[in-house]
């Protein structure tokens, strides 16, 4: 009985490995894993104000609709804000609630808790945010092309 079950599981596994539908499911979860990993890299790069990493992760046309009612229209503009300390955090947590992969496109939604620092607005306060990220796969790489973030509240 146990042997029969084992054989069945093995055959099922082999079947999964060769069926096109399951292959796409594996690819999908692979893309999701990639995006999760990139989201974490991006969070750490923002926290560490690592311009080199951000240059790699953000598309040249990376656009941000910021909590301060402003649009930063490209990567250079956002990097400038990082360099000026206007995007600066002493802690940065991100909770991914939804990842939707759609071909060469990935939409990520969730919440963030940041402790603003430096010259950033609300410096010294803990801020809860909602965010949406749009990633695009181009030339073999996922790059972040847009971010919308808004503050839910700020507390000292």
């Amino acid at each position: 009985m146990r042997r029969g079950t084992g054989t069945f599981l093995l055959l099922s596994l082999l079947g999964c490995m060769t069926s096109p539908a399951s292959r796409s499911a594996v690819e999908l979860s692979g893309a999701e894993a990639d995006i999760r990993s990139l989201e974490n890299e991006e969070r750490l790069a923002v926290l560490g104000r690592d311009a080199q990493a951000l240059q790699r992760l953000w598309s040249e046309r990376f656009t941000v609709n910021s909590p301060m009612n402003r649009i930063a229209p490209n990567r250079s503009a956002v990097l400038q804000l990082v360099q000026q300390g206007l995007i600066s955090y002493s802690s940065f947590e991100r909770r991914i609630e939804e990842i939707r992969i759609d071909g060469n496109l990935a939409i990520v939604m969730g919440g963030e808790t940041v402790q603003a620092a430096g010259n950033a607005p609300l410096a010294g306060q803990t801020i809860q945010r909602r965010f949406t990220h749009v990633w695009k796969h181009e030339q073999g790489e996922w790059r972040l092309i847009a971010r919308h973030a808004n503050n839910m509240n700020a507390s000292p």
Binding site: T63, A77, Q80, G103, T132, E138
Partner: protein, 156 residues
């Protein structure tokens, strides 16, 4: 078909704003050139706005992608069915879009802007809600459809 004054106004404002450069950029950038594809995406968003105001369920179904996600300000993510249910239950009488800019990246388009929503009240004057938003559109078989949306009260 009767077109209400607020709807005409909202559409006219949308058209005017679509042809104006964004006034709220962090960095100075050359005056944006609106391409024909950008115009097409903006026209789809205008259709969506009109469908919201007229509670046109068929148009909403056509313009919103089946994989749509809305990142709400209350910390929840909702899909197409719930979005349309909420829109149909609203008493919105007008919508004006300003500060709108658009970015088309192949099969993906992003629109950033401010929407002033006006709602009827049975016991008093209209209420107005001013929101910052980013909407993501995807092109499927030549048709642009709204895939994601995040909006929140415009910060003061």
């Amino acid at each position: 078909m009767t077109i209400s004054y607020p709807r005409v106004l909202a559409l006219a404002m949308s058209f005017i704003c679509a042809t104006l450069p964004s006034r709220n950029l962090v960095a100075q950038s050359p005056e944006p050139v609106v391409t024909s594809e950008e115009r097409r995406v903006l026209a789809v968003e205008d259709e969506y706005v009109a469908a919201e105001i007229s509670r046109d369920e068929a148009s909403l179904n056509r313009l919103v992608d089946d994989r749509f996600a809305l990142n709400t300000n209350r910390g929840a993510i909702i899909g197409k069915t719930e979005l349309i249910r909420r829109v149909l239950a609203m008493n919105m009488v007008g919508q004006t879009i300003t500060e709108r800019s658009v970015l088309v990246e192949g099969n993906v388009a992003l629109i950033f802007g401010t929407a002033e929503l006006r709602f009827a009240r049975a016991d008093g004057p209209e209420t107005v809600s001013t929101l910052r938003y980013t909407s993501t559109f995807v092109n499927r078989d030549g048709q642009w459809r709204m895939l994601a949306l995040q909006m929140q009260d415009r910060a003061r």
